[in-house]
Amino acid sequence: MFIYVARRAAGSLVVLLAISLIVFLALSAAPGDAAAAMAGDSASASQLAILRAELGLDRSPLARYASFLTGLLTRGDLGRSLVSQRPVAGLVLERLPYTVALALAAVALAALLGGVAGTLAALRAGTPLDTLLMAGAALGVAVPTFWSGLLLILLFSLHLRWLPVTGAGTPAHLVLPAVTLALPTAASVARLVRSGLLDVLAADYIRTAHAKGLTPRRVVIRHALRNGLIPVAAVLSLQLGHLLGGAFIVESIFGWPGLGRLAVQAIFDRDAPVVLGATLAAAAVYLVVNLGMDIAHGWLDPRVGREAI
């Protein structure tokens, strides 16, 4: 088991290093480097050259990557923002709690909505309720968050005036972004729960449970759902990782000050160190979540660990 965990952790670390190298090289080769962005259009060639030397931009990209990596590993230093001059690590840590709160809220909501809808559809398979729920799910996986988000704002913020349009700070601010982000995930969870449950309900041990006189409710909750939910748990934790790093569209709609918004704004500002820092943080969080799930899986199912060694 220990060897399995160590191997997985080492693998994640290698991937993270590769990502940092790729993103660093991609961004440092971007047209219009940091010095040009800082100095503005009026700067002369010699001024630019001095600024480049100051920023260390006259060295080769690989040499700069080496010093970036040393700074990151020894001091947790991600460089400074070209715009605000603040340390990138501080900016990232400031935004991270917002992204985590949004992702957790969305996944919890998606599990609840998708779980209930999927279970209902499976228990009433073939009825109009099933058709209705599955049509809703088909719509849910297709509707873009940047449209459903706008429609929710239109209804709940502008017409009913129940919830704030954008911003963060109170729990009310979290409701619309979390619902928007949860909808597509809830839809795919509902489909997965339905098909998983239908398979399990046809299994022999469910017939046995019915035959020994258990109440239908007990059969579904204690026997069927337990087994039917294993793939759902896997998909949900995968989604959690994706939402932690990929929620920048929803964050943009609702002005939610998370990591994704930080990265998007930095792209507009040509603030390469911040883009790099935010991207690395998102990828790191994603890998850590996946690693944690892998370890949990190996712990729950000892076959997984043995297989990997």
Partner: protein, 302 residues
């Protein structure tokens, strides 16, 4: 056996998903016989969208970028079915033109992904060995970027415009095609008729092109259909946050972004582009699901 944590997790989840899918498919196939409703509905929607895109210049009453084609911010009416925007441009003409861009986004996003992913997946799955190992590790890294984050980095590097957004979405989709093709080619390579072809001295390139690829075609077409919808969504999302199509392009995501500040007084600016986008993606998903049901149904019927 994977070195990378993420890949093991994902492939595990994918395996489970496809397992579940096969089971429901069998049930659906017996229920809907050979011609599922989803195929008809999806086919109709996608055909209508393609027709709209092709006929846009003939149906649209105004050029999509003509300002003051009507009054500013006019509500939908028989003259302006989708209303007009802040510059008096006819929204119906603009949304129609957007359909053409959506078709381009679908073809580019899915096409680039398939062109990169299918040949490499075929080679890795059939040859195995170091080539498979190297390509698979590369794809692991590619997939360790959550969601659209990689597209964000690519657009940051190349500059925000529509063609770069399509390119980024294509690059983002390549690992999916790679993994699917690799897995299918791996099992197809062990089939008896492939072994027979190999034993009579058929060269590897010919085996891949003439014997293995046709065997994978149905799975690849289903996946490509679903990816086309995902590509339209992704390009729209990048355009919406300003990293894709730029004004005055009538790309649907860009139209939504432009309409959101007037949503309170002119909701039609946000309703129709989003509706077209959602309907198109629903259509492609239904078409993909329907094709899978029909093709897999045959395999289930045994």
């Amino acid at each position: 056996m994977s070195v990378v944590a993420a890949s093991a997790v994902r492939s595990g989840a994918e395996r489970l998903k496809s397992l579940l899918r096969t089971h429901t498919v069998c049930r659906a196939a017996t229920k809907w016989r050979r011609f599922p409703l989803s195929l008809t509905a999806g086919g109709v929607i996608v055909t209508l969208m393609l027709l709209a895109a092709a006929a846009a210049p003939f149906i649209a009453a105004y050029p999509p970028d003509q300002v003051l084609a009507g009054p500013r911010l006019a509500a939908p009416s028989p003259t302006y079915p989708f209303g007009t925007d802040t510059l008096g441009r006819d929204m119906f003409s603009r949304v129609l033109r957007g359909a053409l861009i959506a078709v381009q986004a679908a073809l580019a996003g899915m096409g680039i992904a398939a062109l990169l992913g299918v040949p490499s997946g075929l080679a890795a799955g059939y040859r195995g060995g170091w080539l498979d190992w190297a390509l698979s590790r590369f794809v692991d890294i590619w997939l360790a970027f959550p969601g659209l984050l990689l597209a964000l980095v690519i657009v940051a590097r190349l500059g925000p415009n529509l063609s770069n957004a399509m390119l980024a979405v294509g690059l983002l989709g390549a690992p999916g095609f790679y993994r699917l093709t690799r897995g299918l080619a791996l099992s197809a390579g062990k089939l008896a008729y492939v072994e027979a072809a190999r034993s009579v001295g058929c060269p590897a390139g010919r085996i891949l092109a003439r014997h293995i690829l046709p065997n994978l075609a149905s799975s690849l077409i289903v996946y490509a259909t679903l990816r086309a919808g995902a590509a339209i969504l992704a390009v729209g999302g990048l355009s919406f946050i300003g990293l894709g199509a730029q004004p005055p392009s009538p790309e649907w995501g860009a139209l939504l972004a432009a309409g959101r500040s007037h949503m309170d007084t002119a909701p039609w600016l946000a309703v129709y582009p989003g509706l077209s986008l959602t309907l198109t993606v629903v259509g492609l998903n239904l078409l993909g699901d329907g094709l899978r049901d029909v093709w897999d149904g045959r395999a289930c019927a045994r």
